[in-house]
Point group: C2
Chain length 351, copies 2
DNA sequence: CACCGTGATTGAAACGTGTCAATGACAATC
DNA sequence: GATTGTCATTGACACGTTTCAATCACGGTG
């Protein structure tokens, strides 16, 4: 790291031209060293590289992407930066991007349409190489617009994107619900509550379908074996508030297990239980969905359905790379199967 | 949103020139409409705006920042994208940036020197307008390099940055430790364990100083009233493993409260307690530090020292803005005072 | 009527890079 | 020795925007 004797920030920025004259070659050669090193003779290349180091040159990516038309930036549009589910995905996307020499522009739609639209416009303005996006709903018009701008994208957690429209990476929510149901039924539970948000959220709707299927295949009647408890949002507060509703269990016999559509709900539920002096799994078995980090941290540990979040992110990013320099790329739909993680919050039903 | 009849992505991108000819004006005028609308007559401005809408023009930021020298991107370099502490800060930075019409490039140093350096080079390449950085240690040479590149920055969570070098925003860790100590002592605890990582981490070292001060001012002898338990990392696993060490309490009488340097440690500790059939606060009072979301989610709720994370992020970003178009800006150091959040994990000591 | 001032618009010149046809050097082949 | 081919390098232009001096139109003033 060459120390500039001048203490104040150097104003004139050093460009490809300065490097060229310092190395006694033409700007074109410097550009070649940077982009296609194999085309330039070893001796000159080393001279140029020395000049780059001496002048502490760093390539101006504005100029670069203006000329070449492509940028080394990809966008990642998430629904909520603070949600641990998304950050794990983000880590996967980032790691894969770093390996490919790409920078990740993290954008947050905060589940608002206007912000989603604004952020996509921003990506278009950057002429980003591509985008990994978690759409806030099943309206694809924003993404179609992005395609029209020539920016490829991969949808995350949206299994319902037609392959003519774009790539998607998601987890089989029905399989997840099914596995959860089988687990609880296998433990002897015959009255199960499903604590969930509105079914307009496709993901939780599918989890319910899977759960119902598990009940049916066990020879139980979904109408009596399943208890549906709806809350407006999938957050801990709602989970805590729902304890009474779940324990009441309607006019019929009280349920012995609750499957929450989401870990956040489940954690809130566990807390609510504790407040009332009750415990999982002694008083009721509790299951979550997602396997966020905290699920392992509470006592008892939360049995849950794990989504391969990190892998989801990496896969999305690598799928996106398939689009680059390859206009005739066919879109793909990748579906992962979730896995049950057994912890202490579920146990066999003692009749 | 004008629907292009051509189903395939439009290849030729529409630029300022297309808009100009479509509106019957010169490119310069279009640029003026975009950047200094007040200079152009209302009538022509409306015509240009109509053209922009009709052609669905979006400004190419590469061209823009190449010419103008400034970019509308700021970098945010965090130590760990998945850490809830940082994501909350990130949200603050982002909100403030959005308000200022800036995009945030989120970068992750993963606590590695090489990655920190690479990410800062990337920002320099983008000619970013500025950067909010959480440095991985007290070595400022990378940041000095950034300054030399003409990119202003604000350090986060590093109170020890001299104001000649740059701005910083941080929280008073000594005050936090002091407040925690006073709280526990006020509850009657006279033997307190401090569960912590290595003191080479400046933040936790300062928290310990505060704690010691609280003990002294209460007329207790730090040597006998404080019990130091060191673990290599500040994560939940270490917290869980440390339970035995804390409960053993050395040759002297067992401590009745534990102050963890970090919520993650505290949560692990709580889990470890549960595993052994013990409970906070009945068997031991437990305090954390940070007030991450989950702290409110466990049962009992974790009493902790809250850092104003969101505000920290917003402040850093607004401080950064002070640098723009203002080369003679004087650096500032902003110090926040943390606040105790009382929950269920601490209680009065019953002798 | 000539002159000036004001406000709106224009045209051309950059910004730093990638690309590509053209040039040059030099060895191999006929 | 003339021709061809290969490989390394060069020079000039283009990408889309901003900027700024120059131009133009037009109403007011002397």
């Amino acid at each position: 790291m060459p120390d500039n004797p001048n203490p104040t920030a150097t104003r004139r920025s050093v460009g490809i031209t300065q490097v060229a004259s310092h190395a006694g070659v033409s700007p074109g050669t410097v550009s070649n060293v940077l982009n296609r090193p194999e085309r330039v003779a070893t001796e000159t290349r080393e001279r140029v590289e020395a000049a780059i180091r001496e002048l502490d040159y760093v390539r101006n990516s504005s100029g670069s992407s203006l000329r070449s038309g492509r940028s080394d930036c990809v966008g990642l549009l998430v629904l909520d930066v603070t949600n641990p589910y998304f950050t794990e995905v983000a880590r996967g996307v980032e790691d894969e991007a770093v390996d490919a020499g790409l920078a990740v522009l993290l954008l947050n739609s905060a589940e608002e349409h206007t912000r989603q639209e604004r952020n996509l416009r921003l990506l278009a303005g950057q002429r980003a190489a591509g985008a990994v996006v978690m759409p806030i709903d099943d309206d694809l018009s924003d993404l179609r617009w992005l395609s029209k701008q020539g920016i490829p994208w991969v949808a995350l957690d949206r299994g319902d994107v037609p392959t003519e429209e774009g790539c998607s990476v998601s987890v089989d929510n029905e399989a997840g619900g099914l596995a959860a149901g089988r687990h609880l039924i296998g433990l002897g539970h015959e009255r199960i509550a499903f604590l969930t948000g509105p079914f307009s959220i496709d993901q939780v709707h599918r989890r319910h379908l899977g759960l119902t299927q598990a009940v049916s295949e066990a020879g139980l009647d979904p109408d009596t074996a399943l208890d549906l408890v709806h809350v407006p949002q999938l957050n801990p507060e709602q989970g805590e508030k729902a304890v009474d509703a779940v324990l009441a269990g309607g006019p019929r016999q009280r349920c012995t297990a609750v499957f929450c559509a989401n870990d956040q709900l489940a954690l809130g539920f566990l807390k609510g239980l504790g407040r009332r002096g009750l415990r999982a799994p002694d008083d009721i078995s509790v299951m979550g969905y997602d396997d966020i980090d905290v699920a392992a941290l509470v006592h008892p540990g939360l049995t849950t359905v794990a989504q391969p979040k990190y892998k989801l992110g990496r896969t999305a990013m690598s799928l996106l790379q398939g689009h680059f320099d390859n206009p005739e790329h066919r879109h793909e739909r990748r579906l992962f199967t979730p896995e049950i993680v057994l912890r202490g919050s579920t146990a066999a039903h003692r009749p």
